[in-house]
């Protein structure tokens, strides 16, 4: 019995050593970003230390005001909040209809939607660029938002339809007999019941829109409209060696994501699992 116990302790210790080593590898670059964001440029160029010699919080003030990161940050908040709101509203309306209502061409639309989820479409940004150009929406907030919203729809509709399918029909039928309209049922009964699925959709789309870069690169030229991921590349291209300010900018772009991640971890894991096992 003692030998068995000793063996288990050794195995556990080795396990923890491996896990801690990998954890350190995961965390160090993020720590390095934080630490470097508080250093002076002189210190970056002359002396390598784990922590800053003096904690230069003023880097963040400079980043926010002089380096436009405040503007980029607000733009990202705008795209994320408005984009997620419309994804949730439009997809839940459609998902409810697909789950409960009868209308022309129902199956064809649904399978087309699912097909875009399963078929990878690389390089679709080329025709999107031309489309926005001909609509006069190139380099506009609306153009980028429309791309973001339509990108999020298919997965959200797929997830929500599954959820609505599993809800019991009896409550809705009772409400229908009481004279509630179809929209009223969707708004007052189905949508509140779908909160867990909606939470997953909100979190997943927030992460996707906040982190999106390629479309923002293709659609936007005007700095005043850029989200933070795009702004970071502009800053990096202009002030190539201003590492403390760049790291401060990276931190500003990362903090909201990390907070959402730590608070909403469960929903993210659920969303990942649903995404991986779709189809």
């Amino acid at each position: 019995m003692n030998i068995y116990k000793t063996k288990k302790t050794i195995v556990d210790t080795v396990t923890h050593i491996i896990l801690i080593a990998v954890s350190a590898t995961c965390l160090f670059p993020v720590f390095w970003m934080l630490s470097s964001s508080l250093k002076t440029q002189d210190q970056i160029f002359s002396k390598m230390t784990l922590l800053p010699e003096t904690w230069n919080w003023s880097n963040y003030v400079t980043a926010f005001i002089k380096a436009d990161f405040g503007q980029y940050f607000l733009n990202s908040v705008f795209y994320t909040v408005v984009g997620v709101f419309f994804v949730v509203f439009i997809s839940s309306l459609a998902a409810y209809a697909f789950a409960r209502l009868d209308f022309f061409g129902k199956n064809i639309f649904f399978y087309m939607l699912i097909a875009t989820l399963l078929i990878p479409i690389p390089g679709v940004f080329v025709p999107l660029y031309l489309l926005l150009k001909s609509l006069g929406l190139l380099d506009s907030r609306l153009g980028l938002l429309l791309c973001y919203i339509s990108n999020g729809l298919a997965f959200a509709i797929f997830l929500l339809k599954g959820f609505f399918d599993d809800l019991p029909k009896e409550i809705e039928e009772a409400a229908l007999i009481d004279g509630c309209s179809r929209f009223g049922i969707y708004w007052r009964i189905a949508l509140p019941l779908a909160k867990p699925a909606l939470a997953t959709i909100v979190i997943m789309n927030s992460l996707t829109i906040w982190n999106e870069f390629l479309l923002a690169l293709v659609v936007l030229q005007d700095k005043a409209k850029m989200p933070i991921q795009r702004g970071l590349m502009v800053f990096q291209g202009t002030f190539i060696t201003d590492y403390p300010l760049l790291m401060a900018g990276l931190t500003i772009a990362t903090i909201p994501i990390v907070i959402v991640y730590l608070l909403m971890q469960k929903h993210i894991v659920k969303g990942i699992a649903a995404g991986a096992l779709k189809g």
């Binding site: 990878p120 690389p122 390089g123």
Partner: protein, 296 residues
């Protein structure tokens, strides 16, 4: 319940916003990709010159840079499939052993996947910097002073592998989470029964864990292939395809041709690349069908 045509029409209103956005911003661009790919067009002129499949032919037979970019993405993909997913599997197996701090490890391993590609790329670009990067400083400290001033991302020999390392650093937590979820669905009774029958740890892994994990491992592998082949943000933020085109991947190539105003040519490339991915995607549908079947 009978439904009148009028009701059908009002029901239809529920999907109108989704349908309009889908048709205009998803379906139309897909169809437009095919249409543009048979024209030579700079996006400005009124006239589009019909060239048939000439651009496809040129990409496939006269454009070594395209094949180079495919190979680069393939290289990153192969490394991810083996090293990254191997690590993800090992960690998932270790964490699923009911060890202390499971939640902490899980939270930490999944941090890199939630960060944006641009943020990760720019942090690591700084880490890899020849003069001021912490990597060379660390290597110097452990006695490898030959790497002093070595610019990892500007050297032809190391640029692509360096980006691949970052890609794997960012990606392994994703496979880890899915595999861990899969491991936790395996009923504990199976292991208890095996223990009663005298099976050791290796036999349990070989006869229970491994066969039950195959479908999920397949899905993780396919997602890895699709994700790695379509790598863009990391490349763009770390090397922009350089040095001298040695880290170009298909998406950076398509973007480059588009930026040069070769809209027809870039869409033809997108169609070819999409065809390659489609094959992988069908495998995904097949694999997830099998997984659902096993679950029932």
């Amino acid at each position: 319940m009978k439904i009148t045509p009028k009701e059908k029409l009002s029901n239809f209103c529920f999907i109108v916003p989704a349908l309009v956005l889908f048709l205009v911003f998803s379906l139309y661009p897909i169809l437009r990709t095919f249409q543009l790919s048979v024209f030579q067009w700079n996006g400005i002129d009124k006239d589009m010159i019909f060239v048939g499949l000439a651009q496809y032919k040129h990409i496939l037979f006269n454009n070594p840079a395209f094949w180079k970019s495919m190979w680069n993405a393939g290289y990153v993909t192969i490394l991810s499939l083996t090293l990254q997913n191997g690590l993800a599997l090992l960690l998932a197996l270790l964490v699923s052993r009911n060890i202390r701090g499971e939640n902490v490890y899980r939270t930490i391993f999944f941090l890199p996947p939630v960060l944006s590609g641009v943020v990760v790329g720019l942090i690591w670009k700084f880490v890899f910097d020849g003069n001021f990067g912490v990597l060379n400083h660390f290597l110097g400290n452990i006695g490898l002073s030959q790497f002093q001033d070595f610019a990892w991302l500007s050297e032809i020999k190391t640029a692509l592998s360096s980006v691949a390392v970052v890609h794997m650093w960012k990606g392994f937590g994703y496979g880890f989470i899915i595999l861990l979820a899969g491991l936790q669905t395996i009923p504990i009774e199976l292991y208890e029964a095996a223990e009663v029958d005298g099976a050791d740890a290796w036999q349990q892994f070989k006869n229970i864990t491994f066969p039950l994990l195959i479908p999920i491992f397949t899905i993780v592998s396919i997602l890895t292939i699709l994700g790695s082949m379509q790598i863009f943000d990391l490349i763009y933020s770390m090397t922009r395809g350089g040095p001298a085109g040695h880290t170009h991947v298909p998406i950076t190539k398509i973007y480059e041709y588009m930026s040069n105003g070769e809209f027809g040519y870039s869409t033809a490339m997108a169609v070819i690349f999409g065809g390659v991915l489609l094959v992988v995607s069908f495998a995904q549908i097949y694999a997830s069908k099998r997984f659902n079947y096993n679950n029932k």
